[in-house]
Amino acid sequence: MYTFFNNTQPIYLQIISRVLLAIAKGELPLGGKISPVRDMAANFKVNPNTMQKALARLEEMGYLYAEGTSGRYVTKDVALIDALKKNLPEELTANYISEMTNCGIRNSEIVKYVMGALDADAMDGEGV
């Protein structure tokens, strides 16, 4: 079964990364509505409390805000999102390296793979 998450690290942290990535890529638009916690938890196949923890943290960080009882939304703070986008390449790279490392691939090997892929011009730079 395909699991979204790596079970060796706290899942709520991984969810936060995932959501931030989605915001940076524009998959979650500015001011866009976030599904309720239960639905998100079921979609991601994680514990609702874990999902709640992640979303609450994202609220604290300012990337999400809650509007009364109608739910959570992505921030409309353009400056914040721009800063996030600037970090996107670093974030993606870090994710890629983390995944490769989990597969047991050494850093020197990782470099070889990247170079090889770039040479072959198969630009699928999203290693997740």
């Binding site: 079964m1 998450f5 060796t8 690290q9 079921a42 196949k45 514990n47 874990t50």
Partner: protein, 237 residues
């Protein structure tokens, strides 16, 4: 108030001990996994909570109630066998639950079953084992209970159905209810757990929040489980 409190529970089958004095609490709103190989005492524990077994010492309280008729009103139980009368049709089983349980949400059950594409007028014995499991889980999760007690909910089904069952569980349990599920298949169920309780030979060898385990030990539950049960874990993964 804890949804489930177990204090010093001891159970012998004749001279052999099945539970050697276990204690734990389940707060509201949590998903607890009771994890252990076959024979570790998981099913014994669940049967005692459901008053299907007697002759134990120690205390078991479900929202302050001892196991019995009153407790059964607030527990939704999924055993690890097909417990619906096989001669019933699916819609008759729905009506049965509606008749017996005041907290049963009939429209929810019907909607779940139709979205699973299960024909309501088919006899249960004519359904495949996987479909029977789905019917059972739909009925069990359509109750608005305080405690959901699921004995090996994903044990008997194929991987695709496992996802479906986990999805059904996550989408349908009320916020202030708790789920206690027992399994020996850890990997699929890990991300869904709040608390993990490892049961070995009738004793609790670990009882902690899963995030704590991950942070402290930097390992997955599955790996930890295999390590702790190295000689005994059942190869049926």
């Amino acid at each position: 108030m804890s949804i489930l409190e177990v204090k010093n529970l001891v159970k012998f089958y004749g001279n052999s001990p099945a539970l050697r004095g276990i204690s734990f609490d389940v707060p509201p709103g949590k998903i607890v996994g009771v994890l252990g190989p076959n024979g570790s005492g998981k099913t014994t524990l669940i049967k005692i909570i459901m008053s299907l077994l007697s002759g134990h010492s120690g205390e078991v309280l479900i929202k302050g109630l001892p196991p019995g008729t009153e407790a059964n009103k607030i527990i939704s139980y999924l055993p690890d066998v097909g417990h619906l009368p096989p001669w019933f049709k699916v819609f008759e089983a729905i009506n049965l639950f509606a008749d017996y349980y005041t907290d049963f949400d009939k429209p929810r059950a019907e909607q779940m079953l139709t979205s699973m594409k299960i024909p309501l007028d088919k006899k249960i014995k004519k359904l495949s084992r996987g479909m029977q499991e789905k019917v059972q889980i739909a009925l069990v999760m359509s109750r608005r209970a305080s405690l959901y007690l699921l004995d090996e909910p994903i044990g008997a089904v194929d991987p695709a159905s496992r996802e479906f069952i986990l999805d059904t569980i996550l989408r349908n349990f009320p916020e202030d209810a708790s789920i206690v599920l027992s399994t020996h298949i850890i990997a699929d169920i890990e991300p869904v757990l709040d608390i993990a309780i490892f049961l070995k030979d009738g004793e609790i060898i670990l009882n902690d929040e899963v995030d704590n385990i991950r942070e402290e030990k930097n390992t997955s539950l599955d790996s930890l489980f295999r390590e702790m049960f190295r000689n005994e874990w059942d190869i049926l993964q």
